[in-house]
Symmetry: C2
Subunit: 171 residues, 2 copies
Amino acid sequence: MTADPVLNAIRDRRSIRKYTGDPVSDDAVRAILEAGRWAPSGMNNQPFRFLVLRKSDPRFEALAGLTKYTHIVRGCDAMIALFLDKKATYHEQKDHQSAGGCVQSMMLAAHAMGLGTVWLGQMMNNAPQVLEALKLAGDDYEFITVLTVGHPAEPGTANRKPLEEYMLEAF
Amino acid sequence: MTADPVLNAIRDRRSIRKYTGDPVSDDAVRAILEAGRWAPSGMNNQPFRFLVLRKSDPRFEALAGLTKYTHIVRGCDAMIALFLDKKATYHEQKDHQSAGGCVQSMMLAAHAMGLGTVWLGQMMNNAPQVLEALKLAGDDYEFITVLTVGHPAEPGTANRKPLEEYMLEAF
């Protein structure tokens, strides 16, 4: 096994905010969810819960209105909403770290399949309204994010500081 | 590009708690850090800070004593400690989510290179002591975790619930 496909996917994945409108197959969405399923979690508590919303779902447009990135959501073909099951969570920070690993796994899987995603962290600011629109009880579930999924209509851009600026000591 | 190497890495990566003791090259550690560098972060705030500790470093043994998994740490060849730079953070939960994506990227990169890691989330319980051992100010940095890195001496095991149990609605 060569490491390159994985290292390249990690390096080359971009947030994709414009989509062609071409449909994303159920199989592709399922492969993304499978990637999320395999994400590690503290104590292996597996607190992740998923909800897939297709364009035809009336709740799709409701959620599109619960972010300032409405135009991005409207352009995508499927939304994957991620929640934590409060019956499974055990440590706020660690559970949120696990959720981030889950999102990253799903985004990398989508990228590997030629699909684009964006992590709509901003929507978390409207978590109570999202839960209400989905008729989910806040006592049961914590809303993490929506991942938009579609075929990229743009390459995406990214910038990162050089590695030295991440290092607390030279390496 | 076929998606399989990435999807397989996500599915097949395991926590590796036993290492052969063979050295891990600087280049391999650097490739892992590079993977972490490319992790997404909210508002692209890039709050991640890394510190690499080799076995020869006196602080290696100090950190090994700050977890109940001392035996795992002692067996690895390198530790990558992950912190958040408090000058860069902006939202506790989102920053921790980003940190989790960073850890996952590093673990996937290591796995792709045939290396094993384990995410020592438990060490976060001793964050003040870790910061003290590393002479880092808690006002400046938040300790997230240590990732142990080594050549796997065991295949690792994992179990996950079936996807249906992650789904809030059938898909």
